[in-house]
């Protein structure tokens, strides 16, 4: 179980880091989504693994239980990263439609020629 989770986090993170270093906005958005999956799995495992246990302390005997707090943290993180990805897609779409180009870098806005197009 440890091996599966650890390699899942590792593969997702490395894929995500590779993709956010790309030049086009679509791979970058996918990369951030992969990173957020990786961090969700990572957070989930931060409370130690307790397979097939309920997240409730049992008053009857010394039955072990799984830590409920990471589950709550993951739920918050999932909601936030889901919303953020939606915002990111909309901003990326807006930038693409405004400039007919989905490159993620800015070029050189500090030159005189581009200064004419600079926002006011």
């Amino acid at each position: 179980m440890e091996l599966v989770v650890a390699s899942a986090v590792g593969v997702l993170t490395s894929g995500g880091v590779y993709l956010i270093l790309r030049l086009r906005s679509f791979p970058v958005i996918l990369g951030l989504a992969l990173l957020s999956y990786a961090v969700n799995v990572f957070l989930f495992s931060s409370g130690r693994f307790a397979i097939d246990q309920s997240p409730i302390l049992s008053p009857y005997g010394d039955a072990s239980y799984t830590d409920p707090l990471p589950q709550a943290l993951v739920l918050t993180a999932i909601v936030i990263s889901f919303g953020m990805t939606a915002v990111l897609v909309m901003v990326g779409l807006g930038a693409y439609l405004e400039s007919d180009d989905d490159r993620i870098d800015l070029g050189r806005p500090d030159t005189e020629a581009d200064a004419e197009d600079a926002p006011r």
């Binding site: 957070l43 931060s46 919303g83 953020m84 915002v87 901003v91 807006g94 200064a115 926002p119 006011r120």
Partner: protein, 508 residues
């Protein structure tokens, strides 16, 4: 339990949806509600500052669950000071945005503005590190909307970069929190202080990893080298009033570094002592250099100011990195100063740019009220560069005075002093190109420029208020620094913080 402590979070949180859903079709109603809400926030934060001035740490337990099981808000002198700074800046920026009509150039400015205030105030007040993450996300998601307010090609592309950078930062924040929870089993800051202190040095490797990850996350927010590169592009392409409001956002990062590394990983804790400062100090020195060279090389006004903001964050973080009471007092003074200095520059730049029709640093014939804008720009630039008589000089003096350790003195003094010199040169060159050379050129044909009216008093007053805040900070430097010394003493009193949050049985 004083319920006013949560008011700076609840008030904007209730007002923002009301503005977005009920007042979306009438900008004047939205303006009135937004100004009233921000003024109420200012009044509340003054009240909280008076409450906290007694030196007691006030606790607000949400749902009355005892810490560390429930989420708590903590009001001490530092968080009260930061909330007061936020609401003062917000009032100035909001009046400027309304007077210049920026808020009507896109949709939902006021709703996003209030959500932004909610996130910032929450981040300053919270006593729980996961809650800090949530408030970071609230302030970031509002800032994404404000950053691309009114659109445009360059602004949308810079906005996309800004969002990507901060989403990567948020992911890193979650990794840090996961590591911290796995190694300590808590996310309450006071409880963290107890648990981390109990970990022996040889077993603290995971905690040290988490501490460094957290420092990187906050460094992204605070624009520290090598993760400062998003700031110039973002600030120079954001609407100028939004850039002025963003002056407080870098301070959220500095505040978080200060808070976490004094309470949880602070001096005297065996496992993590001196860890953050070791990395923070050289990075801050390089940040000063990046800011100074950027100011010198900028060919547009907005990047020039953005780079000077990077440089001021460098000076601030040099003082933060020492984690001694004197240096922290200097850092707190510099936080207040550099917030108003950056805001004043962005507001003046907005007035100048809207009359010149762009922010390129080239000489064009003088526009209306050239002398007035030159004077305002001069005053704000003096404040930012750190020359007397404004508070920048005193702030840098305090920072230099606190850095007397032989190992750090040579690096810090030369970086701050040479950086200041380069900043002065950059601002002098920009100011003379913008305002001085303009008077030597043939006057404009009044017929072609008749559409540009002289600035109304309401447009100039906010920029003047920001400059006046710098002057007041210099005049009342004595009382202010005495108050800040008390703030620092409270911040470094870890036992006091832990006892007030966890109760008398805080050792458990």
């Amino acid at each position: 339990m004083n319920h006013w402590i949560i008011a700076p979070v609840v008030l904007p949180a209730l007002l923002a949806p009301l503005i977005a859903f009920v007042m979306r079709h009438d900008i004047s109603v939205a303006r009135a509600a937004s100004v009233a809400g921000t003024l109420a926030l200012l009044a509340i934060s003054i009240g909280l500052t008076v409450l906290a001035a007694g030196g007691e740490t006030h606790l607000y337990r949400l749902g009355d669950w005892p810490a560390p099981f429930g989420i708590v808000l903590v009001l001490d002198r530092l968080s009260a000071l930061m909330v007061l700074l936020t609401s003062t800046l917000a009032t100035i920026v909001l009046i400027h945005a309304i007077a210049t009509g920026w808020d009507a150039r896109g949709r939902h400015f006021h709703a996003l503005f209030q959500f932004q205030l909610m996130g910032i105030c929450g981040a300053f007040l919270t006593g729980d590190i996961f809650n800090l993450f949530v408030f970071f996300e609230v302030l970031l998601i509002a800032s994404y909307g404000l950053m691309i307010h009114s659109g445009g090609r360059e602004r949308m592309r810079a906005g996309l970069q800004y969002v990507v950078m901060n989403l990567a930062g948020s992911t890193l924040f979650l990794f840090a929190l996961g590591t911290l929870y796995a190694s300590t089993g808590t996310l309450n800051i006071a409880d963290l202080a107890v648990r981390v202190a109990a970990i022996p040095a040889e077993e603290a490797a995971l905690v040290r990893v988490a501490a460094i990850l957290l420092m990187i996350v906050f460094a992204v927010k605070a624009a520290l080298f090598p993760v400062q590169f998003w700031l110039p592009a973002t600030y120079s392409n954001a609407p100028a009033p939004v850039a002025a409001l963003f002056a407080i956002m870098t301070k959220v990062g500095a505040y978080a570094i200060l808070r976490i590394n004094t309470i949880a990983f602070g001096p005297g804790i065996e496992g993590t002592e001196g860890l953050t400062g070791t990395w923070l100090f050289p990075a801050a020195i390089v940040t000063i250099a990046v800011g100074a060279f950027g100011v010198l090389g900028a060919r547009r006004l907005m990047p020039l100011i953005a780079f000077s903001a990077v440089g001021s964050m460098g000076t601030l973080l040099v003082a933060v990195a020492i984690f001694s009471p004197e240096a922290t007092t200097a850092a707190l003074y510099y936080i207040v100063h550099s917030t108003f200095a950056a805001a004043a520059l962005f507001l003046v730049a907005d007035l100048v740019m809207s009359r010149r029709g762009g922010d390129a640093l080239v000489a064009i014939p003088a526009t209306a009220q050239n002398g007035l804008f030159a004077a305002l720009f001069f005053a704000a630039a003096i404040g930012m560069a750190g020359m007397p008589p404004l508070s920048g000089f005193l702030g840098k003096l305090l920072v230099l005075d606190a850095l007397r350790d032989p190992g750090q003195m040579a690096w810090a003094w030369s970086a701050v002093l040479i950086g200041s010199l380069l900043t002065i040169v950059g601002f002098a060159r920009a100011g003379s190109t913008l305002f001085w050379k303009a008077t030597a050129m043939p006057a404009r044909d009044p017929a072609t420029y008749s559409d540009i009216a002289p600035a109304r008093p309401a447009e100039i007053v906010p920029a003047m208020a920001a400059v006046a805040a710098l002057a007041a900070l210099a005049v009342f430097a004595g009382p202010v620094s005495r108050y800040l010394e008390g703030t620092t003493a409270q911040l470094f009193d870890r036992t006091g913080y832990v006892t007030s949050v966890l109760g008398q049985d805080g050792e458990d």
